[in-house]
């Protein structure tokens, strides 16, 4: 079954962009939350990740701060 992928991002963050491009390249569907414009998503992100930076990526409940391609690849594809 496909894993649930969520990314909290801002439009101006290059790591967010790299992560989204990676998901597109790999055909991974993801939900995007723009924490620059969505205050509720911002609070939610800080709650689940205890962080104030983007991106935060959540894959089936596991939280990753920043985009480390190898780490995400391992989580997605084993």
């Amino acid at each position: 079954m496909a894993k649930q992928v969520k990314i909290y991002s801002t439009p101006t963050c290059s790591q967010c962009r790299a992560a989204k491009r990676y998901f597109k390249d790999k055909g991974v569907e993801y939900q995007e939350l723009d924490v620059a414009s969505d205050a509720r998503a911002r609070v939610e992100m800080m709650g689940i990740a205890q962080t104030r930076t983007v991106p935060v990526i959540v894959i089936d409940g596991r939280v990753f701060v920043g985009f480390d391609q190898r780490e995400i690849e391992h989580e997605l594809f084993g």
Binding site: T12, C13, S14, Q15, R42, R52, T53, R70
Partner: protein, 303 residues
């Protein structure tokens, strides 16, 4: 074995890749991210041909331009560069490796740390090195920007419309471009604190305050801020070739006017080198020059 390995993903590397392709070199570019420091810039207003463009868009233009040429790209970090007979080997973070007869190191720079108590503890919990990325997370809150150069003034300009109050803390008078200074100077919610040294960052879960001390009378102030934006310059990422080529005291790779390092076949370009004035447009020029020097070198090697 490739002709040329270009390590880096900023303007120097992209420009080198394009010149290498046009000289019909079999080149490979090794970089996990696109744009380098350009991608983290808010607005770029001094890159020829682009009166005003966001850093991320300019980085996209680099990529689009690069895509016109068939240059292999490996989106991984280069961990090590070593010499081998007839060329060099780059080890990647995945453990795989790439070989090339010549190489251009264009690994750029990364943010300089303050080195004060609380900084490491609160990274990503209020302490940030990328205002462009993280400024929107501090809507209506009080924040401090540390630094007085172009990047600091840009960070302040991004925070002014978003944050409640912006303290701009610098040891010395601002040395940013006059155009950037003018943009920050008029903001009602910006307080310029010149002549202050940052001492410590405090908080519990997230940052709650920044302690600074006046250079003149040593009086301390505790600024109630939720964000500390560190913009005090950058340090060269020359680790890859440490011990292999000459570095100067600042850790920059020493290059000649054609981008040659102290080792034949190994070139360097952009902000990682000892060339003066770190600017995107200069890095692009450096990259082009290093690629041409590498092409000449390879002609010689081929005999």
């Amino acid at each position: 074995m490739h002709d040329l390995m270009i390590i880096g993903g900023g303007p120097a590397a992209f420009s080198a890749a394009i010149y290498a392709a046009r000289h019909r070199l079999d080149a490979v570019m090794i970089a996990p991210e696109t744009g380098g420091q350009v991608a983290a810039s808010w607005l770029v207003e001094n890159y020829l041909g682009f009166p005003s463009i966001s850093g991320i868009e300019l980085a996209e233009r680099f990529e689009e331009h690069f895509a016109h040429y068939k240059v292999r790209r490996i989106e991984e970090r280069a961990e090590q560069l070593t010499r081998k007979e007839g060329g060099f080997i780059v080890t990647l973070e995945s453990g795989q490796w790439v070989e090339g007869k010549a190489s251009i190191v264009a690994t750029g720079r990364s943010s300089r740390r303050l080195g004060i108590p609380g900084e490491a503890e609160f990274v990503h919990r209020g302490v940030t090195y990328c205002a462009t990325c993280d400024a929107p997370l501090f809507a209506d809150e009080h924040v401090a920007v540390i630094g007085g150069g172009d990047a600091a003034l840009q960070a302040a300009a991004q925070l002014v419309p978003v944050a409640g109050r912006v303290y701009l803390v610098s040891r010395s008078p601002w040395r940013a471009e006059a155009a950037l200074q003018a943009r920050a100077a008029g903001a009602a919610n910006l307080e310029a604190l010149m002549g202050y040294v940052p001492l410590a960052i405090k908080g519990t879960e997230y940052v709650e305050s920044l302690v600074i001390r006046a250079k003149e009378d040593h009086v301390e102030r505790e600024l109630p801020v939720r964000g500390v934006f560190v913009e005090i310059g950058a340090v060269p990422d020359g680790k890859l070739v440490d011990g292999l080529v000459d570095l100067n005291a600042a850790g920059e790779i020493v290059v000649d006017r054609s981008g040659r390092t102290s080792m034949p076949g190994l070139f360097a370009a952009g902000d990682v080198t000892d060339s003066p004035y770190k600017q995107a447009i200069m890095a692009a020029g450096d990259g082009a020059r290093a690629a041409m020097a590498a092409w000449e070198y390879l002609l010689g090697v081929k005999g």
